[in-house]
Symmetry: C2
Subunit: 147 residues, 2 copies
DNA sequence: TTCCTTAATAGTAACTATTATCATTTATAA
DNA sequence: TTATAAATGATAATAGTTACTATTAAGGAA
């Protein structure tokens, strides 16, 4: 059931630009990039095409935890690491883990269809700047309430 | 550095109700639940407290991929499965995997601080209803463009 | 107890990412 | 060509969440 996509200039440019990058841009970042070559393109068009293109399997949509949606010109399923400081997202190639996860077909009577593994931490550039991170602490009333 | 939380009726009720559940409610679902006992509570108060309580380590905030934030009365780190049909979220106890993931301390020069593993698929209740799911297909222009 | 300080609340406005609407344009196949 | 329907640009709407602010109320000190 072919969706019969039309090869519009906007659509071709979005795929082309996204595939040049090894970053994982948001819809808005892609909008800014394609706007350089197609100044009249609208943000809605970018969103609509990113959705259609990922549904069609031509690009990949990344739903990262707790942050905005990102897109990936690489279609093969792989893992990602996100820097908690600068939000940068990089690929994490872990074929060993990929194999283990793919072998899990059921959990708690669920039929597993997708497995998402996402790391977060500090990227090489942010590692130095951020010396320490504070730990959460349990307050007085709760310590008693819970005990 | 204790945040010196005050034991307000609203705050205590939110923790109490959340801990009764083994579901993973959204902020709005928690709002509806606590409203039964504290009708004047505001949605903003629920959001504010869920944030504070999770920062303090008294509850857990779940940032699920591509869907709204959920909360967990269980504080211990564990995995989740989400039904792609009814959105239900269940715990996935996989101590074997947890150990493997925790042993990964670095990827691509990132210092890993958090590991999130999330499954999605069909829950036992939805397994029967949803017979088949359609596959995405590559359209004509892209097949040539890519080749 | 009563009083004081300041955290927390209710109510509401604002914000951000994303989706929907719709009149106009344009790719494509006949 | 021309007809058709997909796609666009502009803009409005929506959803989830956060910010603001006057008022209330924990909880420690007197
Ligand atoms: Mn990637
Ligand atoms: Mn859980
Ligand atoms: Zn960084
Ligand atoms: Zn279900």
């Amino acid at each position: 059931m072919n969706r019969n996509l039309r090869a519009t200039a906007q659509r071709k440019l979005i795929v082309e630009e996204l595939r040049k990058l090894n970053s994982h841009p948001t819809a808005n970042e892609i909008y800014e990039i394609v706007r350089a070559k197609l100044p009249k393109i609208s943000l809605g068009t970018v969103y609509r095409n990113l959705e259609i293109l990922s549904e069609s399997g031509l690009i990949q949509k990344l739903e990262m935890a707790g942050s905005q949606r990102r897109f990936d010109g690489t279609v093969e399923d792989h893992f990602h690491v996100k820097c908690i400081s600068c939000e940068r997202v990089s690929d994490a190639e872990l074929p060993f883990l990929k194999e283990i996860l793919d072998s899990i077909e059921g959990v708690n009577d669920y039929k597993i269809m997708q497995r998402r593994l996402e790391f977060s931490g500090l990227c090489p550039k942010c590692r130095n700047k951020n010396g320490e991170m504070e730990q959460p602490e349990v307050s007085g009333w709760e310590r008693h309430e819970a005990g």
